[in-house]
Amino acid sequence: MSIVADELIRFSSVLRMAYNFLDGRNYLKKKKFREKKKLISVGLPFSDLVYGFPDLVPVLPIRMHEFEIHKYLTYLGSASNVFGWNRVTNFLGYIKDLGIKDISQTVDDIIENVISTINSKYNEMYDIGVESGISTDFCYGVKSLYGMNVSKGKNCDANLNYTIRCSTWNKYLESIEAIGNPSKQIWIEIPPRNIGNTLELLVDNINQGISELEKISDFSYSNTALRNHFQTSNQIRQSYKKIIYDISTADFYPCNPATFCEILALLNISFHDYNSNATRYKDNITLLLEEMRGRINKGIGVDVSNKPKILITPMFGGWEPKTHDIICELGGRVLYGDWDLLRFLDDIPISNTTDPVEAYAQFLMNANENGIGCDNDKLTDSYVRLAKNLKAEGLVFVQVFGCHSVSNCYTMLKEKIRRELEIPSIALNFNKMGENVEQVRTRLGAFMEMYR
């Protein structure tokens, strides 16, 4: 596993993203108490509207928690504030090149632990959720979100709630108030289908949401601020898509495939709220793409042409993170692309319209119609599209216990995959991280046999 860290250390952008995620609590405290900004809780990648207000900060509530950050990473964060990230990470690379084992080993540990630290915090949220009374019958994602709101929801001034096809999601959002969370609930309905003048209704719904945000903010809504943010978030999406489509489908990776999975996992988690700072996130993801390309151009990395591409999805509602390690051990490489599957990586079409709200409505409606889909046919088409575009050679479907929405499309999906893509697929049951690893290993062992 030290290879993983060895590769990661050369991506300063990943270190920054990881640090920004893990250090969210301090960052958000600073924003809230020192800069008097207001925190707006979001779930799923629905944070964009919040960025239309300079004094509002979107946050996926788990980031308000304290993470166990190795003191060395804390040092890195502090040092970077003084010297800049590039210089700090170059220095670390230099130390590793010198082969100073103790120090590099410490760094290895830090990096490897980033994802597992986040994941164990998710498990902790799950436990808090269950202890607080949510039925164990719900999916991992909802139980964790519930736990996040129970433990940290009170720090937010509002929750920005978007309705989608998943009734558990909608009801979970309603339950936030019942938890005793004093924050304001702002609802934006995305209508189930795009019929008649639905888009106009959605524009109006978003405008009403904006009015509610305005009541919290000390600033008035400005088209310009929102448009500027959409430009930033579109740049994020473009870089993200390039990483998924250009880099992950190539035969030469800028790093070990296991490292690559961890980077994709980190992107997936941090994309919810862009680590509460979209501009910083854009800079990091742009740099990440550059760093990846730079290494590929220099021939630094790993030839993965003989490793079958296995798409693991969905992972946004919870998945066993060991899955990618196991597949990599068994000679494969893993691709993650949930947000593209759900059409959250499509551009917000600001160049087509002068009104950014209208553009955002089009974006949301597209995600709803063609990504999440109110209809399983649309949803499964989306899976097939992603698998096809990624040239996936196999699909691992994560069947989350208690998920009545996405997980329930597998029968339909399996048929479509067999008919349209002719690639193998397997469904893995998931309830909680770390709970079922041996069974996952056995099933994947049999699955990966097909590629030998």
Binding site: S135, S167, S175, P191, N205, F401, Y410, T411
Partner: protein
């Protein structure tokens, strides 16, 4: 046995109508499907209001995961196994895919796709605002169009208005029945039959009211308000409640209050020119339904509390609340602990009764119900 008679008679009646050239449109029971529109198109609405069992649930696992709502599982199972008692399901011509909850979407899609029943789409807004009512009207217009395609001609506005009035009178009669003092099992039997047959049995309901006004329930039974998920046809839950010494005096569920309280005021009917506006208006006023967010919990608590106080005033008896949660029901489950806590704070006893349709549960359910009734 009684249900077997009901179901076989229903089969014969439906078959007769089919022979007359009528078509059947089925849907998983919920309170926002405009059955008047189906009726006005000359079609027969059929609500899926049938409980499950182990076999029916198991049969659905080829299509959906076992962690899907037991009712949705059973609906699929009914099409998959085709039990003799549900023979009338073979007569279904169309199935409405709707989004009361995501299990409704998934199960309805499975039924339409894998059992070759042409589907109609009708999706309902998730919130209750001016815009969501406007969206609901768009869906109504879309459904109307789909039904007109089946019918081959437009649905006449006057015919639709007549259907609305017919169903309105029918619901008023059910409300009347709900207010009688007959036992919970008798009420439930009537609701089941009524919701299966629709307004065609209106004359029969008059006789039932007359007959039942002579009967009285035992004063010793403990009064129960049943909320949460419905007790469907073939479910033994109500028998367990009565065997334990309880009597459901109020069915605060789909089969029951959620259906018959959606009555139009005569003034509203007479002053609204567009029938579609009336149906949209009903969606707006359906504040006790569990589909939309937010405020479901708040309204549910206040509604139950009002009933509790009124009942106590009227009869001098306290009402216990059984919150019936069908396993993996998104809507009822997530709010159950909050509902219980909030009602408890108001001094109302609540039993959160979660179960699926497996036979093995019967003993445990019985024990829990008995213990609850004793505690009352």
């Amino acid at each position: 046995m009684a249900n077997f008679k009901l179901l076989s008679e229903y089969y014969l009646s439906l078959k007769e109508k089919k022979e007359e050239g009528k078509k059947v449109v089925a849907f998983m029971s919920h309170d926002n499907i405009p059955e008047e529109l189906i009726d006005a198109a000359g079609l027969i609405p059929l609500r899926m209001i049938f409980a499950g069992n182990d076999e029916l649930m198991d049969a659905s696992h080829d299509f959906l995961s076992p962690s899907t709502c037991a009712f949705a599982q059973s609906c699929i199972g009914a099409f998959s196994i085709k039990p003799e008692r549900y023979k009338f399901l073979e007569l279904i011509d169309y199935f409405i895919v709707s989004n009361h909850c995501v299990s409704d979407i998934c199960a309805s899609e499975v039924i339409a796709k894998y059992f070759n029943i042409p589907r109609l789409n009708f999706y309902v807004s998730y919130t209750k605002t001016g815009n969501s009512v406007k969206y609901f009207k768009l869906e109504l217009l879309d459904l109307k169009k789909q039904l007109e395609e089946i019918k081959g001609t437009e649905i006449d506005a006057q015919v639709l208005m007549n259907s609305i009035k017919k169903f309105n009178n029918f619901k008023k009669k059910l409300l009347e029945i709900s207010n009688t003092i007959i036992s919970g099992s008798q009420k439930l039997k009537i609701f089941h039959k009524a919701m299966l047959y629709g307004p065609d049995i209106l004359p029969e309901l008059d006789n039932i009211i007359l007959e039942q006004s002579q009967t009285q329930t035992s004063d010793e039974s403990k009064d129960i308000l049943l909320t949460g998920c419905s007790i469907f046809i073939d479910d033994y839950l109500n028998s367990l409640i009565e065997e334990g010494g309880g009597n459901v005096v109020f069915f605060d569920t789909w089969v029951g209050f959620n259906y018959y309280y959606q009555i139009f005021d005569e003034k509203v009917i007479n002053s609204t020119k567009d029938s579609m506006d009336l149906l949209a208006h009903r969606f707006e006023k359906n504040i006790y339904g569990d589909h939309t967010v937010p405020n479901f919990l708040e309204r549910k608590v206040s509604h139950i509390e009002t009933f509790y106080r009124d009942h106590e005033k009227k009869t001098g008896k306290k009402v216990g609340v059984i919150n019936h949660i069908i396993k993996f029901c998104d809507h009822m489950s997530i709010m159950s602990s909050h509902l219980k806590n909030q009602l408890k704070e108001k001094g109302i006893f609540v039993l959160n009764l979660e179960r699926d349709y497996s036979r093995a549960n019967r003993g445990q359910l019985s024990t829990r119900i008995e213990a609850f009734l004793e505690m009352m």
